[in-house]
Amino acid sequence: MASLVALKGVSKTFDNGTLALERVDLAVTKGEFVSLLGPSGCGKSTALRILAGLLTPSDGTVEFAPGKPEIGFVFQEPTLMPWGPALTNARLPLDLKGINRGEANDRAARALKRVGLDGFEKSFPRELSGGMKMRVSIARAIAAEPELLLMDEPFAALDEMTRQTLNDDLLKLWEEDALTVVFVPVASRKRSRSRRTASARPATA
């Protein structure tokens, strides 16, 4: 099966000498939901950021299928712009692409609706709960209709119940949009519901 994106022999050493990844191979097929498991410090975030192009590997390559896919990224923090309401935040990737304001507003509003924030378009981040801010962050990630969605412990800062709800909502989104998702969950002993998981151990373990 063709990969949408693949890490081939990727190593990453940071400037301070830390070896984060050593010759990692990871192939992600289109339409998959992959979870990266492992304890803190084993390089999951690093791998994800390399997939996103936010970090360059020290060695090895990142290969994309032809026609580089649109990528969405969700951080552990909601990472919203506090000076604008939810709609402006969700609209960010569209604004950056130069899409006209009217259409951008529509698409952002639709994204907010899909994450269950209908009616909160004009609310500022400070008026929203942690879970709601996270939903805005996800809406922003899907507003540009990405093919590949990368999520780095997105629900870590939330309570267990909200986390469960958002996990379910995410799986629904994944199916509805035929997304490809690479997901780093909060490390736990629970069995993952992912169809496919990739585990890692830190080099020092």
Binding site: A52, G53, L54, I71, F73, F75, E77, T79, M81, P82, W83, G84, L92, P93, D95, L96, K97, F124, P125, R126, A144
Partner: protein
Amino acid sequence: MREWPKYVVPVALGALVIGLWQFLVRHYDVPVFVLPAPSDIANAFVTDFSTLMSALWTTFRIVVIAFALAVVSGVLLAVLFSQSRIIEYALYPYAVILQVTPIVAIAPLIIIWVHYENIDLALLILAWIVAFFPILANTTLGLRSADFNLIDLLKLYGASRWQILWRLQLPSTLPYLLGAMKVSGGLALIGSVVAEFAAGTGTATGLGWTITEAGNRLHIATMFAALAILAALGVTIFAVLSGLEWLLLHRWHESALKKEG
């Protein structure tokens, strides 16, 4: 707590102090050239009204222009610094030197350089020098304080340098800039007045000159009147800038939010 005590209490205290002052001066027959009573000051205010008002206008004009220049130049230079480390390393130390040099020392120099007839220009330059640095320092800090993850996110979506500056760094810097502006407004006023003192009498025509002149002629009541106007100007500048800060920040920044509950 309700809002009104914030305004009523300081005014009530002021009224009390003025009342006490008036009483003590009259009771102990203090000469007017040592400490004028509030009534003497009020008299001087009326007598010298036109002189005081034209002096106020001169100082006000200089302060506003110097402040505006300080904000524009401070922000522009800070943006330049954020884009080029080399330029920052090159110029920042000189900005610091400019800031720590007492303007009373360099005032006579500046006045000579712009030629004696252009005294207003000299005052403008001196007021600008004092007001410039807080803007530069704070805006530089603010530009660097943008959320790193947001910068990463913008880069992920292919944002150019200017888009990152415009969409992220400048809005992030707003609280820092507004805070610096409140300080700079007052500094521009002080700078302008101190510069007039250093320029000496018979040349400038603002409030600083009025205070010096009145002092020389032992018109102490007039001097106090000028001082009172100066204080009122300072308070007004601060109030206007605080209002601007509230206007721009109250919807989203912690510093301007009302506490719920």
